[in-house]
């Protein structure tokens, strides 16, 4: 009997097709094949990117030259532009504004390594620290309301042809809809229970165990109850905080270890699948923003990793339902049993 499950945060229903459950090796994984020439993200090719915004440079301090460990550059094809005003306006019954924002690329390693799973935890911690610094810096620009940190790995996850590990940062002038939905869900839960839904969710998962993937130091990794995709994994900090950028140095080290293990397990269990990860964090709170009154108590930053094993089709687009062909309990079991 298939099950419908409701996400307690957004109110999104998913169908868990218990009888169609697939094993990891039953998902078709397409490799589009290599098409790389001169990688603009490798050490020594710094002139092929726009000038760097930030870099971790232990010895040579000269920008846009070799000697870096992590490097952040503006996107060469930005989807939002940094210069200009928002200029909100109407057009008949439609609303329009300029596409202002920041779009940056975090080059995670000077070597030509494709998957973050293959970086050392120390290297990953430098990447996470750069994300934190960029978020703090972008918060100072009052045009921006939200910063999204995310990664597209592999063709089906939307990555380009260049196989060099990188994440992206996009600052947007409006709080995106998905983020608002999630915040709204957390706020409603808090109004009734006066507790953070993510803290409650973690307590329940730690107790029930069946969806746990990892529990180390300050973080847990779980396959969420209402997974939208097979092998979806969330990494949550045990310490309650709405804002990713409040992460302390020790937590960065812990997160790096957990993230590395989860990515490595996915890589091994699913034969190097394409995936996205998205950092979920609270929007910037300027003085005027009175709407999210309880956000400090009701929201909890976390990381969502979604392997791209199935295709989203008409049904998902039409309904907002997702059909997940594998139970999260099974996914968690596969991942727990994968030795890395």
């Amino acid at each position: 009997m298939p099950e419908l499950r409701k996400d307690p945060i957004i109110g999104r229903w998913v169908i868990i097709a218990t009888e169609r459950s697939k094993r990891p090796d039953q998902f078709g994984i397409m490799d589009p094949g290599p098409a790389e020439g001169d990688c603009p993200f490798c050490e020594g090719h710094e002139s092929q990117t726009p000038p760097e915004i930030l870099a971790v440079r232990p010895s040579i301090k000269k920008p846009n030259a070799p000697g870096w460990e992590v490097r952040i550059v503006p996107s060469i094809k930005p989807i939002l532009r940094i210069e200009g005003g928002l200029d909100r306006r109407g057009k008949g019954l439609f609303d329009v504004m300029n596409g202002i924002g920041a779009h940056e690329v975090i080059i995670e390693t000077p070597s030509h390594i494709g998957n973050m799973a293959d970086l050392t935890p120390e290297q990953i911690s430098k990447v996470i620290n750069c994300c934190r610094e960029r978020t703090i810096d972008l918060e100072k620009d009052r045009r921006f309301k939200y910063v999204l940190v995310f990664k597209n790995y592999g063709w089906a996850a939307g990555a380009g042809r260049i196989k060099h590990a990188r994440s992206q940062i996009i600052a947007t002038p409006v709080t995106p809809r998905r983020v608002k939905e999630e915040l709204g869900g957390c706020q409603r839960y808090f109004e009734y229970h006066e507790r953070c839904v993510f803290c409650d969710l973690m307590r329940q998962e730690i107790e029930m165990k069946e969806r746990m993937v990892l529990d180390i130091d300050g973080f847990i990794a779980v396959a969420p109850f209402a997974s939208r995709y097979p092998f979806e994994v969330w990494i949550l900090p045990k310490e309650h905080s709405p804002d990713f950028q409040t992460i302390r140095p020790q937590m960065i080290l812990d997160l790096s270890r957990v993230l590395k293990l989860v990515l490595l397990k996915l890589k091994k269990c699913l034969n190097d699948p394409p995936y996205n990860f998205i950092l979920h964090t609270a929007p910037f709170r300027r003085q005027k923003a009175g709407y999210w009154k309880t956000i400090d108590a009701d929201y909890h930053w976390h990381l969502e990793i979604t392997p791209r094993l199935t295709r989203v089709a008409g049904f998902e687009w039409g309904t907002g339902f997702y059909i997940c062909p594998l139970t999260p309990e099974n996914a968690a079991k596969f991942l727990r049993e994968t030795q890395v």
Binding site: P2, L4, I16, I79, L148, Q168, R177, W317
Partner: protein
């Protein structure tokens, strides 16, 4: 400079790339590697599907044998199951229920390689009539609150079989995307006492630049707030919330318009993968509020891959402005 545009219905923002717009040849071509041997939807293979629910067939032939022109069968791998009760329940902080619903496949033609644009107008009319008949039939089951008709064409649109078919799913609840769309239209209606879709049509007819074609009963245009490049809507001119209340004259016109639109998309973008979805008011709607919703079809070619940014924000990046897409589709001869 790119533009952010806000959908007036669900308040969704999209980014439209107006600096470096993509044209049809710029998209990556997907290989359709489809086989026709052992296709469960072809003549002679009727036993490979579950027994048919309904068919248009030569009266001298028996069910589940050749001789049909349109055939409706249960999906062999249903996302939802027809028997049983919902049985809503809680597990700790989580809510769940059984996956009750109907999942049917409407096989549009016995011909493996003939898609909607390749059929005769009269054949497409019968396909549309079958959509309506199935929707009306399932409306009678009071466990269902919403009926979704949709098509996945091509692997990257999620199709697993190439034989032309449409799917129907009856759901025990009004799904989130539909509820949001209806809420958005109702908010507009409550404030202005006009239907937002009727208003959008007026504006599109006035602006002209996003029109693809206009027939007696339908308007085809690339919406101002497209989520996908070459997204195209087919909207009936007559205000009517329910797809299955479409009248015979409209069906005859819709068949022509749908063939034309899909044919032009096929030629203009060299046979892209696409989804189409029929948007309609839920069953047993509130008759006081029928003024606010308007059924229509949305066609979404799958030309780019959805990535982390879209998933994370619900923003969509459209690389062909709808004005340009509409121009290409207006000028395409089919």
């Amino acid at each position: 400079m790119g533009e952010l545009r806000k959908d007036p219905i669900v308040a969704r923002w999209v980014i439209v790339d107006t600096d470096d717009p993509k044209v049809p040849g710029d998209f990556e071509k997907e290989e359709h590697s489809w086989k026709s041997d052992n296709c469960p939807f072809c003549y002679g293979n009727e036993s490979l599907t579950p027994p048919e629910i309904e068919a248009i067939r030569d009266p001298r032939t028996k069910p589940n044998t050749p001789g049909w022109t349109i055939r409706v069968v249960p999906n062999k791998f249903p996302a939802l199951q027809i028997e049983g009760d919902l049985n809503r329940r809680g597990v700790g902080i989580f809510d769940m229920s059984n996956g009750i619903g109907a999942h049917e496949v409407i096989i549009e033609t016995p011909y493996h390689d003939k898609n909607l644009p390749d059929l005769l107008d009269s054949e497409v009319e019968n396909v549309i009539r079958m959509y309506c008949r199935r929707a009306v039939d399932l409306t009678k089951d009071n466990r269902f609150k919403y009926i979704l008709l949709f098509k996945n064409y091509g692997p990257s649109a999620g199709a697993s079989l190439s034989h032309p078919h449409t799917q129907l799913i009856a759901l025990p609840m009004v799904p989130k995307n539909v509820a949001e769309e209806i809420k958005g239209s109702m908010d507009y209606f409550d404030f202005r006492e006009r239907c937002i879709f009727c208003d959008i049509m007026h504006q599109e007819i006035q602006d002209r630049e996003r029109l693809v074609l206009e027939s007696e009963h339908f308007l085809v245009f690339c919406p101002f707030v497209s989520r996908f490049s070459f997204e195209t809507w087919i909207v009936p001119k007559r205000h009517n919330p329910y797809f299955c209340h479409v009248n015979n004259e409209e069906i005859i016109d819709l068949a022509k318009v749908l063939r034309q639109t899909l044919g032009r998309i096929k030629i203009s973008l060299s046979d892209p993968a696409y989804n189409f979805i029929i948007h309609t008011s839920p069953l047993l709607g509130d008759s006081d509020r029928e003024g606010g919703y308007h059924w229509h079809m949305e066609i979404m070619p799958k030309l780019v891959r959805t990535a982390g940014f879209e998933w994370g924000t619900g923003f969509y990046i459209v690389s062909t402005p709808p004005e340009l897409a509409a121009k290409f589709l207006r000028e395409t001869k089919f």
